[in-house]
């Protein structure tokens, strides 16, 4: 992780095992409904963590807390060199996180959405260069070079001047991944990136994600594609009713789950 520049030699020795993401005692509620009930988790730099669990178990909420799209009420988040402590105010509301910290964090933690969420009024190239140019202050020339590089990586170079509405779902999602990559993030978040796709388009997106895993990108991935999760992940987190019920390597979780709920979930999903 890059936050150790000013650390002592002693600290630098432990750098390689410093987690890229570290979450402790994370609580999050919608109104009075508590969705996350104290999450503790870590993800090593360069690792892939898949988050699985039944619908409504809080997977998306957990992921959205990682870039502060949702603000937890309590707990601590360390990600991309930022440390954020969440607390209640006297009135029982969460104390808002400093806007500058939020923006810093968000430029280094990029998100890929289930519904792609490309900006319809920009071309493919415009979508991929938008954040580098207008938020990160990268020169137009360099941003275009970056965009070309990452569009090539996701196999979308030939569509650079096309508008998103003219692309298939799989193509849009690959562009969305290029948009996320072009910010050169420390951590990438994927929320069910293939769930909105027709079955025949799932493969092309999974192939791109697989190649990112091989490059050693730090990724948190919410998915229902169990075979894929098992194949690419270093770590699996099984979420149940806002808590991590089971966690470990894919072998641990898929072959010897100790929690009964995890066993049930897996047998209901893997036919």
């Amino acid at each position: 992780m890059s936050d150790s520049t000013h650390h002592s030699q002693f600290a630098e020795n432990s750098q390689s095992c410093a987690p890229a993401v570290s979450v402790s005692n994370l609580h999050m509620s919608y109104g009075s409904f508590e969705v996350l009930k104290g999450i503790d988790a870590e993800a090593a730099e360069g690792s892939v963590t898949s988050i699985i669990g039944a619908s409504g178990s809080g997977k998306s909420t957990f992921l959205r807390c990682m870039n502060l799209l949702e603000q937890p009420k309590e707990g601590r988040l360390e990600i991309a060199g930022e440390t954020v402590e969440f607390a209640y105010s006297d009135k029982g509301r969460p104390v808002p996180v400093c806007k500058q910290v939020t923006r810093n964090l968000r430029t280094r933690v990029s998100m890929v959405f289930q519904q792609f969420n490309l900006w319809p009024h920009f071309t493919v190239l415009g979508n991929v260069t938008e954040v580098p140019i207008h938020i990160q202050g990268v020169s137009r020339k360099e941003a275009i070079e970056r965009a070309e590089y990452y569009l090539e990586k996701v196999g979308m170079s030939d569509k650079r001047d096309q508008y998103p509405a003219y692309l298939s779902g799989g193509q849009q999602q690959r562009v969305a991944i290029a948009r996320a990559l072009a910010t050169e993030p420390d951590v990438m978040l994927f929320d069910e990136p293939t769930s909105a796709l027709d079955p025949e388009l799932v493969g092309e997106v999974l192939n791109v994600i697989r190649s990112l895993a091989e490059d050693g990108r730090t990724m948190l991935l919410v998915t229902h594609e169990m075979r894929f999760a098992r194949e690419v992940s270093n770590q699996i987190l099984f979420l149940h009713q806002g808590q991590i019920e089971e966690s470990g390597t894919p072998e641990d979780v898929f072959e010897n789950p100790s929690s009964e709920r995890c066993q049930q979930f897996l047998s209901s999903i893997i036919h």
Binding site: L105, R106, N117, P120, H134, I135, Y163, P164, A165, T183
Partner: protein, 249 residues
């Protein structure tokens, strides 16, 4: 305010029965001037109306309760009251308020409000209320995820508004905006009731002064029609531009 300086032609032979010698040629200049004035007021009122509408829509959709209530009251009241009445109320109330203000500030005497400025202010105020609703609907029609993506990548509120919200809602807003422009051109005729010399007022004067009622009202009608048709051409071009990101069909 409302000085009724005559729009009558400066040239033209004045006989005892002056109007009889006046014809189309004498009034061509004033009518053209009136048309230009109509366009000027309309353009200025439209631009200000767009700004008011953007602010109104943001206030209505925003989280600040007080602003939402004010914007709501503004768009509801202005849209409920007949425009002619509003124009008269705002024009006279506006000038009176200004006079009172100037007096309070120690300036003696009546305040002269330029008819031009007053006409623009009144029409813009009315436009803003309708624009508020057009923009509010257009912003609500943007898929939530597109705005969320802007947040997720660390855009500030202003940058999100400028780079994402406005261009993404524009295709939804343009047909409403073009309607409002057409209504506005015709509403400029209403400011003639407070004595302002735009196209309609000039045509009225010409008609009365020459006794050629049909001719001059027909000319005014055709001029409004031409303005409308030219505007339609501009708007359909703009719509095509704004929709470039939308798929065929």
């Amino acid at each position: 305010m409302g000085q009724r300086t005559s729009a009558a032609p400066k040239k033209g032979k004045k006989t005892l029965h002056g109007y009889q010698s006046e014809g189309l040629a004498d009034w061509a200049g004033p009518l053209l001037q009136g048309t230009l004035t109509t366009l000027e007021i309309a353009l200025a009122a439209y631009a200000i109306g767009i700004l008011l509408g953007l602010m109104g829509a943001l206030a209505k959709l925003g989280k600040v309760r007080v602003l939402a209530v004010i914007a709501s009251a503004y768009s509801t009241i202005v849209r409920a009251v007949p425009e002619l009445l509003l124009i008269i109320i705002l024009f006279y109330a506006g000038t009176q308020a200004l006079t009172a203000l100037m007096n309070a500030l120690g300036t003696d005497g009546r305040t002269e409000v330029s008819g031009f400025v007053a006409a623009i202010a009144v029409l813009a105020f009315v436009q803003g209320a309708y624009m508020t609703e057009v923009f509010r609907g257009a912003i609500l029609a943007i898929p939530k995820g597109q705005l969320e993506a802007a947040d997720a990548y660390g855009m500030t509120a202003f940058m999100k508004f400028r780079r994402i919200t406005v261009p993404a809602m524009l295709p939804n807003a343009l047909s409403g905006m073009s309607n409002l422009w057409l209504i506005l051109i015709k509403d400029t005729a209403l400011v003639s009731v407070v004595g302002f010399e735009e196209l309609f007022f000039t045509a009225q004067q010409a008609a009365a002064s020459t006794n050629k009622y049909f001719t001059f009202y027909a000319i005014a009608g055709v001029t409004y029609l031409m303005l409308t048709m030219a505007s339609n051409a501009v708007f359909s071009k703009a719509e095509k531009l704004a929709r470039h990101g939308q798929a065929r069909s």
